[in-house]
Amino acid sequence: MTIITKDISVHLTTLTLTNQRALYWKAEATLVVSDLHIGKTAHFRKAGIAIPSAVLDTDLKRLQALIDRFNVRTVLVVGDLFHAENNTDIDQFQTFIQKNASITFELIKGNHDRLKDSFYEALGISVFKTHKDVNGIRFVHDEQHCEPTVFCVSGHTHPGVTIKGRGKVFIKLPCFEVSEQRLILPAFSEFTGLNTKRTVDASVCYGFTEKSLFEL
């Protein structure tokens, strides 16, 4: 796995975008991710839809690599950590948390996070209901909790971009959507769809692949 980074300046600080679906904030030693949807594959399997559980293995391996690379103190999940009910995938995530005991896990609850707060706390995750403000930057799941004048980092929409090739060929890539006051994170889990409609006006997209990260 190759981690490609790109620094962008916002609100007097530097945020590092990576091609591994995460954002790193060096000043706070915080790794920001969104839409992990842990438990989605197990939830599908429970309903009789056979999705390989290796998807989660890969997601967690990637998260571990990011933690190791950036000297992370805090992992901040801006919503949709768990996809649905408590299931075997979540047990696997619990093991992951235990392995990273020195790291603080924080969650801003998303629309999918419908389990009780006490459940998250028992796993060692601090819960924020709608948002968390850190040094002038607001972190939310869904844009509706942003303030017009405050720089706001969110998730929820699973942003993606379409790149047209020759003829009728086109590919879709996940991306970071960035504007003057907003930053929308790509979904961290590979088992998520892409939304290629822009939610923010006048935004710049940073699309990425396994080996590159580029502005579009």
């Binding site: 009789g48 056979a50 999705i51 390989p52 290796a54 075997t88 999918h112 590979e190 088992f191």
Partner: protein, 819 residues
């Protein structure tokens, strides 16, 4: 052999018919006789000659002769591909049963059947049940369903040619297999129109060696009269779509000359445009003309169908949505707009008029550009020669197999060994290996052949009695909702803000529009108010024009039979017979082509190299249809790029394709042989296309049918929201983590068989390799190349620029060639 005419039952039916002033057709009598002697088989007869009564009355006669052989409950199961068809057949059967004086119940069961009727049927099945393959499989998924079918004496598959060749055909094959295991003595009858592979069609439906079969072919033939509607003047440089407006004016008198006219177009989009166009030219037709296609609300469609039956409409613009189905007595004229792309389809459409026996079916052919007149000549020849396309049955469709296995597991459960033995006898799964079977078993019980078994995956479990069963109510419910092999695109319902459904549009189309935008559906100009819960709320608009939705997958491929006739007619076109008025009419165009390029003979293959301001063009004319050309063009581009690195723009139509480059293209007498070689064909094809991308698209249907994607119904609130995922996503995940998955392999096979048409592609290159290659250099577009050029322009420009630009190109050509 016993003769049915000696029987009492026959006498009763013959008397009944005699009273009505009717006499059985020979093929009906034959069918009754075969049935009387315990044969299964297939009845081949044109529409309008009482196909239904051949098999239906055979069962009635047999019942009258030996009522003791029939048990209480379902005696005859009638499977038809269309709901509306079943409704109409049931009406006719009920009348017959009453007049004959039988105490039989004849009922329909499908998705529209009210709950209370279903419950009643489940207590005691009617003597005759009319249903669809899908509903039959839903019945298989009910508890205790085998008792419904144990009394069965006969199963009839109506319009078998429509089912054969699709996954619904495989559903039917499996259903026959199951019913045979419940009622081993039942007789099996297929009823079909003429197709190119009748032997195979019969073998697919009845692959059982122990069953005696006979085929009954009606001698009665439908007479078809084909009339080409010629434009006033010929466009020497034709282009698709252009003639539309002028030709619309030509069909108005035809509409007025007849009682009811069906106007067939090839796409839903085209039907909306023609409907608007006809009304614009002849506003007096308002209220007497309707539009009918698959994306119009079912209720509205039913209303239109009733209105046709009652003779209230002068004309209906429609798509293949009216190819099949109820016989509309008042219809006395059919118009085909543009190429029908296949001989069978054309004849079927023609047959929609003049429905009573011995009446002539009249069909007008309206070309949308002048070259299509060659197609009219080709169709006439094909109809004369009675060359009709084959319907290729589908095989090894694991998605359908998995759905069937789960249906049985939801219903009564199945014994693995018995089911394997039964399924292997079904035509579609003759070549399934034991290994494949075990994969399928693993897939439904453990989620695939992965090393790790999933604890939480309990779709199908092996019960204490050794049967494979579904125990979870939720899984059972999700599965029942998903039974069937028709996968619709992601559609949104269109509804008036004030109430009332209009129809459906694709999500893809509506995603490009915003509130207050306008579009046309069901012939009405609509304004979007808002979009919510998979429903587009609209209000009527006063505007006269707006965008017409494009429905994906609208383009039908040209059949290989028709393309063969096309090549033939083109080669004859320089010296047409006096009877061929289409070819004579086309003469100016043909001679222009011959003068500046060449008219390829049957054993020739034409390549045109043209240099214009835009760059260097190569045109080739295999006449194999758009789909095959798409692959061929990519392949030729790939082979050229092996000689010289080049970038191409590719365009094609049903007749040929174009490669355009800004640099000179290395084609000459020496290289052309290699470029068109049949050697390493498939390797180069794979090198030239993105097979994974194509397979991913094919995987959509497979994922839905096999239950990997839970479809949400348009109009409903998105239930099962947490189970929504796209098939593309699942395809990617499976490719990464479970490449040996048979459903993935099936997607690739479907790409090769259907998208790339491997067999046809190979045949085409075989033919080309035997042909004389004719290389022509030209300074301007030829009549054959011009329509392809226009099609490529259309993709990149808006319609306003397009007209201007085409006119400019045409003027330039005219100046150079001085005509």
């Amino acid at each position: 052999m016993k003769n049915v005419q000696d029987s009492q039952g026959y006498q009763i039916i013959a008397d009944w018919m005699h009273e009505k002033g009717q006499k059985p057709f020979d093929f009906q009598l034959q069918t009754w006789n075969q049935y009387h002697n315990g044969y299964s088989g297939m009845v081949v007869a044109p529409t309008g000659f009482g196909k239904t009564f051949s098999v239906f009355l055979a069962v009635v006669i047999d019942y009258l002769n030996q009522p003791e052989a029939y048990k209480k409950g379902m005696k005859l199961l009638w499977v038809s591909p269309l709901r509306s068809l079943a409704k109409d057949l049931a009406k006719a059967m009920i009348i017959a049963v009453e007049e004959i004086g039988l105490d039989w119940e004849v009922e329909v069961r499908n998705g529209d059947t009210p709950q209370k009727d279903r419950r009643r049927q489940e207590r005691l099945m009617p003597d005759v049940l009319l249903t669809t393959p899908e509903t039959l499989h839903i019945l298989f998924s009910q508890k205790n369903n085998s008792r419904f079918f144990k009394t069965l004496n006969c199963i009839a598959i109506d319009e078998w040619h429509e089912l054969l060749g699709s996954k619904r055909g495989v559903l039917t094959e499996l259903a026959v297999s199951r019913l045979l295991s419940l009622s081993p003595k039942m007789l099996i009858y297929g009823i079909t129109a003429t197709i190119g592979n009748l032997d195979e069609a019969q073998r697919v439906l009845i692959p059982y060696e122990h069953i005696k079969t006979k085929r009954i072919v009606a001698k009665e033939k439908k007479k078809i009269e084909i009339v080409s509607v010629l434009p006033d003047e010929i466009e020497v440089l034709p282009w698709a779509g252009h003639m539309g407006v002028k030709m619309a004016a030509k069909i108005i008198p035809i509409i007025y000359e007849n009682n009811t006219t069906l106007i067939f177009t090839n796409t839903r989009n085209q039907s909306e445009i023609w409907y608007q166009q006809i009304l614009k030219i002849e506003p007096d037709l308002a209220g007497q003309i309707a539009i009918h296609h698959g994306s119009i609300d079912a209720e509205l469609r039913n209303w239109i169908e009733d209105a046709i039956s009652d003779g209230l409409l002068r004309a209906v613009v429609c798509t293949s949505s009216l190819d099949l189905g109820v016989d509309f007595k008042p219809v006395d004229c059919v118009i085909q707009i543009g190429s029908p792309k296949g001989i069978a389809r054309f004849m079927q459409r023609a047959g929609r008029s003049g429905h009573s026996p011995y009446e002539t079916s009249k069909i007008y052919f309206v070309p949308t550009h002048s070259l299509e007149l060659i197609e009219a000549a080709a169709l006439k020849q094909a109809v004369k020669d009675k060359r009709i396309e084959a319907r290729e049955p589908m095989v090894l469709t694991f998605d359908v197999l998995i759905q069937y296995m789960v249906s049985l597991a939801v219903g009564e459960g199945f014994n693995e060994k018995e089911l394997f033995a039964a399924v292997q006898k079904v035509h579609a799964f003759h070549y399934m290996t034991e290994e494949d079977w075990h994969w399928a078993l693993h897939f439904i019980t453990e989620g695939g052949n992965t090393l790790k078994s999933y604890e939480e995956y309990h779709k199908v479990i092996i019960d204490d009695d050794g049967l494979y069963k579904v125990k979870s109510r939720r899984i059972a419910m999700l599965h029942r909702m998903n039974i069937g092999a028709i996968v619709s695109d992601a559609m949104l319902k269109v509804k008036f803000f004030s109430g009332g459904y209009i129809g459906m549009v694709e999500e893809y189309f509506i995603s490009k529009l915003k509130p207050n935008d306008h579009f046309i559906l069901a012939g009405r100009v609509l304004e979007i108010v808002t979009i919510k819960d998979m429903t587009v709320l609209v209000k009527r608009s006063k505007r006269k024009s707006a965008v017409t939705p494009s429905w994906l997958g609208g383009r039908l491929p040209l059949s290989s039979y028709l393309s063969q006739y096309l090549r033939e007619k083109l080669s004859e076109s320089l010296h047409p017979k006096t009877t061929e008025k289409e070819l004579k009419f086309l003469h100016p165009l043909i001679s222009q082509q011959e003068k500046h390029s060449h008219i390829p003979e049957k054993d020739e293959f034409l390549i045109e190299l043209i240099e214009t301001k835009d760059g260097h063009h190569v045109f080739m004319y295999p006449f194999e249809g758009r789909l095959v050309h798409e692959v061929m063009a990519a392949l030729i581009a790939y082979r050229l790029s092996l000689i010289k690195p080049l970038t191409f723009t590719i365009a094609m139509n049903d007749y040929g394709f174009e490669l355009l480059s800004d640099q000179s293209i290395p084609i000459d007498e020496h290289t052309i042989k290699t470029i068109l070689s049949k050697e390493n064909l498939m390797e180069h094809v794979i090198g030239s296309i993105n097979a994974s991308e194509m397979a991913s698209r094919k995987f959509r249907d497979i994922a839905v049918i096999s239950g990997l994607v839970v479809q949400s119904q348009p109009g409903n609130r998105k239930n099962n929201k947490s189970l929504q995922s796209s098939s593309g996503l699942i395809f990617r995940v499976l490719e990464d983590y479970e490449p040996q998955n048979l459903l993935l392999r099936q997607a690739y096979t479907e790409v090769f068989n259907q998208q790339l048409e491997e067999v046809r592609l190979k045949e085409a290159f075989e033919r080309i390799s035997k042909s004389k290659l004719i290389l022509k250099f030209a300074k301007s577009f030829s009549p054959l190349s011009f329509p392809i050029k226009v099609d490529s322009l259309r993709q990149s420009l808006t319609s306003e620029d397009l007209d201007a630009r085409i006119r400019r190109i045409r003027d330039e050509v005219m100046k150079q060639t001085q005509i």
